[in-house]
């Protein structure tokens, strides 16, 4: 077996995930391969260092408050949904009346009416396009694009 095949096995060995038979195989390979042996020694050292480390525990208070804070966010989110629905209905109603009155006003020049109608049509198309993108186009895995 080539060294490449042993690398994942070495990890399982290091992390205590390998059965005795497979451990023997790895031991035999390490005894005869200097480069894998070197790698094994430094990875073992790394494992020893990380085994002595742990993520710092926050104050116990955080866990006591955790659910309440999540619940408050859920509740507030619901509130915002209703506020948004109300605002959209009112704005749409106001905009409809404003545009209707504006287009029916015979004193307004035709060119302005065409300009306003065109702007409204454009805004509607843009809105539908963004909405469609958000709803139907499958999101890519943004995670892969991140590099620190």
């Amino acid at each position: 077996m080539s060294c490449d095949k042993f690398q994942p096995l070495m990890m399982e060995y290091l992390d205590g995930e390998l059965d005795q038979e497979a451990r023997k195989l790895v031991d035999q390979h390490l005894a005869g391969c200097r480069s894998c042996r070197r790698e094994w020694d430094s990875l073992k050292k790394l494992k020893n260092i990380t085994s002595s480390m742990q993520l710092a525990q926050p104050e116990e208070e955080i866990w006591k408050m955790y659910w309440d804070q999540v619940y408050n966010r859920i509740e507030r989110g619901l509130g915002w949904i209703f506020v948004s629905i109300g605002a959209i209905i009112l704005l749409a109603y106001g905009a409809f009346h404003f545009v209707r009155d504006f287009l029916q006003d015979s004193q307004e020049p035709l060119v302005i009416k065409i300009g306003v109608t065109s702007a409204i049509l454009g805004a509607i198309i843009l809105f539908i396009s963004v909405l469609r993108e958000r709803l139907f186009i499958r999101k890519t895995d943004k995670y892969k694009e991140i590099e620190k």
Binding site: L46, S52, M53, L55, P58, W63, Y66
Partner: protein, 180 residues
């Protein structure tokens, strides 16, 4: 997977908020520490992990089966964290906590400065790895998850877990060339 978690997720899917509360309490520590390991800031970790639970609550009806809840929750967490880091990078709006606030020694002996410094160097090297590598190291080293659990949470075969861990450790080893 814990059968209880699947049953709770099924109840939460049917709108039982108390079942969802139990799920939050079961996974809050894992979610917080996973995020902390990736963003390196305690306040942001709390904020992102709580936001992920809010999103999980809103979307739980789309979950196909209660059994998938843990991996589904982790995928939300990963997306939330990725979005946060992308935004933070663009706006330079976050600062990393000092490693001393994030990492501690398990059996900390007073005065063992050399060991503490070594751990902080290792932590900084881990933090500079690509997120996919950091994620698997955090799960294995700092959350104590076994290969089967990691495979389940990441939705990958168990064999791929060992390969990914190898690649991450090999990259880390290169960064710590002078130490190891």
């Amino acid at each position: 997977m814990n059968e209880n978690v699947a049953a709770l997720a099924e109840s939460a899917r049917r709108g039982d908020i108390q079942a969802f509360e139990m799920l939050v309490k079961t996974y809050m520590k894992r979610a917080y520490f996973f995020t902390l390991g990736l963003v390196g800031n305690r306040e942001d970790a709390l904020d992102i992990s709580q936001n992920a639970f809010v999103k999980a609550y809103r979307g739980i009806k789309t979950l196909r089966s209660g059994q998938r809840f843990p991996s589904w929750l982790y995928s939300i967490l990963r997306n939330e964290t990725a979005n946060f880091l992308k935004k933070a990078k663009r706006e330079r709006s976050t600062t990393l906590d000092d490693p001393a606030c994030i990492i501690e020694l398990e059996d900390s002996e007073a005065g063992d400065l050399q060991q503490t410094e070594l751990c902080h160097t290792v932590w900084e090297a881990i933090s500079s790895l690509p997120l996919e590598m950091q994620e698997i190291l955090i799960m294995q080293h700092f959350q104590g998850l076994d290969y089967n659990e990691i495979a389940e949470l990441l939705g990958i075969p168990r064999g791929s877990v060992a390969s990914r861990i190898y690649r991450a450790r090999a990259a880390l080893r290169q960064k710590l060339n002078g130490i190891l």
